[in-house]
Subunit: 144 residues, 4 copies
């Protein structure tokens, strides 16, 4: 399957659509059914003790799922998250970026299913895992 | 079961432990195995089109689950979220608070299970539902 | 909203479509956005120690979600489960039926969202909770 | 990490503990943090139209998660499923085994987190994905 958006196109899309958070997120790589992103962790993402907040990791998982779908269907899609299940497994390391490896497991006419693993940069064991489903409006699937 | 923290104690705890977000969240009521909270929606919680962001609703669900547990075990607990599954069902209304109704379904020695419904104020049908599991460190269950 | 199938119609539908398991499940009540069902627990549902198996409870949650949706859209729907998240919270009691209280939280054009609580008959605290999403094929929503 | 149970030991354990279903499940391979299993699909697992039932796929995911944990902690563990989130993505193929690829993502003192992909034999795209959390009783972690 040919990608409809590359790293530069996804990063530009993010800047246009989510200007208030786009500086937090960087797309490292995108490929067939896969994406690698990072969250530039700063004080807004932290909880007492220096740990990255759950909502910040949820946001990273959500944007990675969104962008790996858009890479395959194009920038015009009004896809929305319908479900996310996330497991927080380990305490994030302090003072480093969080890396998110996402997979597109299904791209159907109406639903797309993804999963992600989230790591603290430099650590081998994942901090969190999540799976997310997006609903793709019928009219958008052909226009990307 | 006697509550170990009332609305005022929970609100004060939130202010001490999460000063950067505590103004966003207001506890309306707490009772046996139940809590009602609200998110004061402002521009930081919005996405293009005026909808409340997924991470903001996740954060509301997470804090409601946390506080209904603390109401039953006391303020010293280092409880951490281990799992959350959330369904986004309807578009939130613009310009109103989000209300969260939480239930404590199980308070075990090691795990607590909760679920929540999230509404836009003034609407009868829920915007989102979530279930969250918290791990309770062994040493904290007796100290509340 | 008027129900399109009552208890008798749902039970008959179950008998026609799932003859191999329909004797296991009994519908106690159905109403607007709600259903009460039971699993007649026998040895096939048990694990060593007399506990009801996880797959048996999953099956009960799944059929309750399915039938509360069909009660609202009619018997012709080819609805399929797309997601289930289930928490097992307590050990089921031995030798009694399991009761399932289901709610229809959203009935959209393409997706229906439900949640359930599962009890051992005679016990106040739930054994399990689950939420299930069903996909409703476009052509079936109008034909019920 | 050295495995405490190999394929033969896991298969024998399954036969002893779950005699009523052990013939359904075959362990193909087990390694560090990974397992491959299969469900021998027969008429008991089918739904009308020849599709494999949701509870049968749930059972396959659950046993794979259980056994990859036991491979690492030994056969005496009384581990129990606390949470499963499963996505059904595609219709299973008729008349073939289902293959389950499981990963052990975290083995903590109290909780183990796993995820699985389920395939119809001979097909490249997964039929289902699931993540499962098991609680490990404190006394069993050291005895395996």
């Amino acid at each position: 399957m040919t990608l409809k958006m590359d790293v530069a196109a996804l990063q530009e899309f993010l800047r246009e659509v989510f200007p208030q958070v786009s500086d937090d997120f960087q797309i490292d790589a995108v490929g067939e059914n896969s994406i690698t992103m990072r969250l530039h962790v700063d004080h807004r993402h932290l909880r007492p003790g220096g740990t990255v907040s759950g909502p910040s990791m949820f946001a990273l998982a959500d944007v990675a799922a969104y962008l790996v779908i858009l890479a395959h269907i194009g920038p015009k899609a009004l896809a929305v998250t319908t479900n996310c299940s996330i497991d927080f497994m380990r305490k994030p390391a302090a003072g480093v970026d969080m890396i998110c490896e996402g997979r597109l497991l299904k791209l159907g006419r109406a639903l797309a299913v993804t999963d992600v693993l989230i790591y603290s940069q430099g650590q081998a064991e994942p901090v969190a895992r999540a799976n997310l489903t997006y609903a793709i409006p019928p009219e958008t699937i052909n226009v990307g």
